[in-house]
């Protein structure tokens, strides 16, 4: 296979997946924030909360539709661009995708239309239920997608079947309760909640700077900062959980992120900053924090975390072991039912490392003919690009911690300082709007780039997974997606800006009338401390 084809396929996947995830986190979080606001409306009967629901709901809708549209590409491009992957692991990987459709996506998509069109056709409580069903559907969607992705990181509950030449499910339960998937799910949806909170905070801050829609803006900040604070804490805690599970499920990824070339005596230090050098296999100018890595990675003072060099040596052994399985597999493929039992037993004993033998396929057609040099090269291939992972991870972590600080500050001002926000903080809130998206994309980069050279860790190499298309096919679709997605992005952002400028236009008369009637009461209550919590909880 030409290496160009695999690279183009990877570029296309990266482009479409990262573009899709521009919209998903806002959908995840905003759907819940909107449902919370509508719940407050139903409980308090104050039109301002209905106005908020409708305003943020409109922005939610503009964003949601692109999440849906770009998600279609995700569902189909495994078959289009990764056909060998689809064949090889479809028996396991396809199931969560289908369940996502059945259980989650149908729910959110069916009710989202009613959310926008049902205001006059449903009772207040019914409409609130619809908002919650949309939010629940969106979040369940994420659960199943991350179960699928978690399996690529930590392929449990499956084994290779030589008769069908693919991985087959042995335990649905293990796939479902894969520890990697569960930690990733909470980490990812929490990141979505932070994204939406920062977005609501930033837009509301803009209104306060411009001195308009102040009632809506203050209440929105109160909701967003409380929700955002809880979510930002959860992102960091579950991110740590992901790191802990990586220390026994994806040792190479962890070592690469930390640029740990050598196995360090326990407890290992954490390299806060440094310049990893892949060729020399060392990190220049490293600033180390003693013990920290061992504590995060193993939660003990005595357990070692293996370094990259030791892991490469381990990979080499696995390649040699995988070759035994590969040899047996070729005999089984040749003789089918007539295969001697001893060959099948040999295969089963070594099949866990079959994927490592497949790493040789990009050097020789038949891995059994690989030279010693090629085996060494394949073992070296199991190290992902260290420097990009090292930096992407650190930037993501810094952003993650700063969200806690931002949310805590606004939560404090909203709860205990009568919703008075200094001007500098409002400008800062507007300026940081893009940062949660950057953090989320970095997170996916670490997860997916860190898994290389595998599509399914230890099972199927990326180079083998791609479809045998022509370069021209790929160039056409890559250019097509690039142009098409860029145009849609410009249109989306321009509509968002237009509707943010326009502000909460719906039910203004109704809201005003209500405000007049209750003017006196409102004046005594604004800024109203009773409105600061999230009553939906």
């Amino acid at each position: 296979m030409e290496i160009g084809l695999v690279e183009l396929s990877r570029m296309q996947f990266a482009l479409t997946a990262m573009y899709h995830f521009l919209f998903v986190p806002l959908t995840l979080g905003l759907s819940i924030l909107v449902a919370i606001m509508e719940t407050v409306y139903v409980m308090t009967n104050r039109p301002i909360w209905r106005q908020m629901t409708k305003f943020w709901g409109t922005l939610f809708g503009i964003n949601f539709v692109l999440g849906v549209a770009t998600g279609i590409t995700m569902e189909f491009q495994f078959g289009m661009n990764w056909s060998y992957y689809s064949h090889y692991v479809g028996d396991i990987f396809g199931a969560p995708l289908a369940i996502e459709g059945l259980m989650a996506f149908f729910l959110e998509a069916t009710f989202v239309g009613l959310f926008f069109f049902g205001w006059d056709k449903l009772s207040k409580v019914q409409h609130m239920m619809v908002a919650w069903l949309v939010a629940i559907g969106s979040n369940f969607s994420a659960l199943w997608i991350l179960i699928a992705n978690g399996w690529m990181q930590n392929p449990v509950g499956a084994e290779f079947n030589p008769d069908t030449m693919r991985m087959e499910m042995t335990s649905f339960f293990e796939v479902l309760f894969n520890e990697v998937a569960q930690a990733k799910f909470v980490h990812t949806v929490s990141a979505g909640y932070v994204t939406a909170s920062v977005f609501v905070l930033g837009v509301s801050a803009l209104y306060l700077i411009q001195n308009k829609h102040k009632d809506l803006a203050r209440r929105s900040i109160a909701v967003a900062s409380a929700f955002g604070l809880a979510a930002a804490l959860s992102v960091v805690v579950l991110g740590d959980e992901s790191g802990y599970s990586a220390s026994h499920t994806q040792k190479m990824k962890l070592a690469a992120i930390e640029a740990m070339w050598e196995t360090h005596e326990a407890p290992a230090p954490f390299t806060a900053i440094g310049f990893p050098d892949q060729d020399a296999r060392e990190t220049h100018y490293a600033v180390e924090i003693p013990w920290a890595m061992g504590l995060i990675g193993t939660r003990s003072l005595t357990q070692e975390i293996p370094g990259i060099n030791d892991l490469v040596a381990e990979s080499e052994e696995k390649i040699r072991d995988g070759l035994i399985a590969y040899d047996a597999l070729m005999i089984i493929r040749e003789q089918r039912e007539a295969t001697p039992q001893i060959v099948r037993e040999t295969f089963e004993a070594h099949s866990d490392n079959l994927g490592y033998a497949l790493l040789l396929k990009q050097y020789v057609d038949d891995p059994r003919n690989a030279t010693e040099a090629q085996i060494k090269m394949a073992a070296d291939d199991t190290v992902p690009g260290v420097a990009p992972l090292f930096w992407a991870f650190r930037l993501m972590v810094v952003l993650g911690f700063s969200f806690i600080a931002v949310m805590a500050y606004f939560f404090y001002r909203a709860s205990f300082r009568n919703m008075q926000f200094p001007r500098w903080s409002l400008y800062a809130a507007v300026a940081i709007i893009p940062t949660p998206w950057i953090a989320a994309e970095l997170g996916w980069f670490v997860a997916e780039f860190g898994r290389q050279p595998w599509t399914v860790d230890g099972v199927l190499p990326t180079a083998l997974s791609a479809s045998h298309l022509s370069i021209a096919d790929l160039l056409i679709t890559l250019a097509g997606f690039l142009i098409f997605y860029s145009v849609l992005f410009v249109i989306e952002v321009s509509l968002m800006v237009k509707y943010i400028r326009k502000g909460p236009f719906q039910d203004v008369d109704e809201t005003n009338a209500w405000l007049e009637r209750h003017e006196a009461r409102l004046r005594s209550e604004t800024p109203a401390p009773t409105l600061t919590a999230t009553p939906a909880e």
Binding site: V68, T70, I72, M80, G90, G94, A95, A109, I491
Partner: protein, 386 residues
């Protein structure tokens, strides 16, 4: 887990073959009228208000309807992985065009009326037209190609291969018979869209829709009959050598013979003639209903027509799912292209729980939205509807 052995592998495979049909038909029946309305848009609605009426008849439901398409993709992946792998990569550029249509369509629905600008709106109207008409045509073309056989083969490792130049492969899909199948699917969905508009819109929009729907129905029935004749005289079928219904899912393990006619299935299993009969009868009754101005019953007849036509394709080809012209041995069939026994069982349990729920809440949503979309409604709620 021993539980999955409750249902035999071959029975699960037949159930999942039927469920594949259910999903495709569910997609055609629901999203089909969305595509039909999109394709009809420039012809049934001339002014902005008329167009908004037509668009808002599907406004609240297209999103849910489109999930049938996405679920179809997911279910093929889960239950028929080789089919997912071979067909989507084999029809690569055609799939890209379909994806583009399905990406632009939701955006067009949502964004069209968000600006008060005639050029902006006209552009999105054309996007809705293309987003409806192009996939409606291409789905038929794909089915036509499946009946003719697709030029792919599987290597010993079961890697799907499609030799040949990409442009020739793409143009090669547009064979005369496949185009005829495309005409059938497009006209069938135009008729379905017209039946929907006749129920949900009123006045001039509904009237124009009915006039076009009648013609589309006649074209669909004529094209379907012609395709049947063509298959009887001009197209080679495929036949399976020895049937091993419980064997491993490895297409290369079975023998496939090229030749004979697909239509010999009607001699072997005469009961399947019910499908084409339903197809013709449904279309005929829908056309008569459009003429007479009946609303609810017309939509139901149109649904029956579509159900008959789509299921006739599957029943005629059984047990084949994707035959290969290059290497008949590589052809995918019900007996050798499914997921494992356990996966099929788990997916069946999940489907048995959630499919009834989906049907229930979808029915509830349609009930809430029952009633015609009028020009007055669109003008009064100009800011909130599409």
């Amino acid at each position: 887990m021993i539980l999955f052995e409750l249902i035999d592998y071959d029975i699960l495979r037949v159930i999942w073959w039927a469920l594949l049909g259910v999903l495709l038909i569910g997609f055609a029946l629901t999203d089909g009228f969305d595509m039909g309305v999109g394709a009809l848009l420039p012809f049934v609605a001339k002014t902005d208000v008329e167009r908004r009426v037509a668009i808002n008849t599907v406004g609240p439901v297209w999103e849910g309807n489109q999930v049938w398409f996405i679920l179809g993709g997911g279910a093929i992946f889960a239950a028929w992985p080789p089919l997912y792998a071979v067909s989507f990569s084999g029809f690569y550029l055609a799939m890209f065009v379909v994806l583009a249509a399905f990406i632009v369509r939701p955006v067009a629905f949502k964004y069209r009326s968000k600006r008060d600008d005639a050029t902006w709106r006209t552009r999105w109207d054309w996007a809705l037209f293309a987003g409806g008409a192009v996939p409606a045509l291409l789905f038929g073309v794909a089915v036509g190609n499946v009946l003719l056989g697709v030029p792919f083969y599987l290597t010993e490792d079961l890697m799907p291969m499609y030799p040949g130049n990409f442009a020739i492969k793409f143009i090669g899909l547009l064979r005369p018979f496949a185009l005829l199948a495309g005409v059938v699917s497009l006209s069938m969905l135009l008729m379905h869209g017209a039946a929907w508009l006749s129920l949900k819109a009123e006045g001039i929009v509904a009237e124009r829709a009915r006039a076009i729907g009648i013609k589309a129905g006649i074209v669909a029935a004529g094209g379907y009959a012609l395709a049947g004749l063509w298959m009887a005289v001009g197209i080679d079928g495929f036949a399976l050598g020895e049937v091993v219904a419980n064997g491993p899912s490895n297409p290369l393990y079975s023998e496939v013979i090229r030749g004979g006619s697909w239509l010999s299935a009607y001699a072997d299993r005469p009961w399947i003639a019910i499908a084409p009969i339903m197809g013709f009868a449904g279309i005929a009754l829908a056309v008569l209903g459009l003429k007479a101005g009946r609303e609810v019953s017309t939509l139901l007849w149109s649904k029956m027509g579509i159900l008959g036509i789509i299921s006739s394709v599957g029943l005629t080809m059984f047990p084949f799912i994707l035959p290969s012209t290059l290497d008949p041995k590589s052809s995918l069939t019900v007996w050798d292209a499914s997921s494992s026994h356990q996966t099929l069982f788990i997916m069946l349990v999940v489907t048995a729980i959630f499919m009834p729920l989906i049907l229930m809440y979808t029915a509830w949503v349609y009930k809430v939205l029952w009633g015609k979309v009028t020009e007055a409604q669109v003008t009064e709620n100009a800011d909130t509807v599409y």
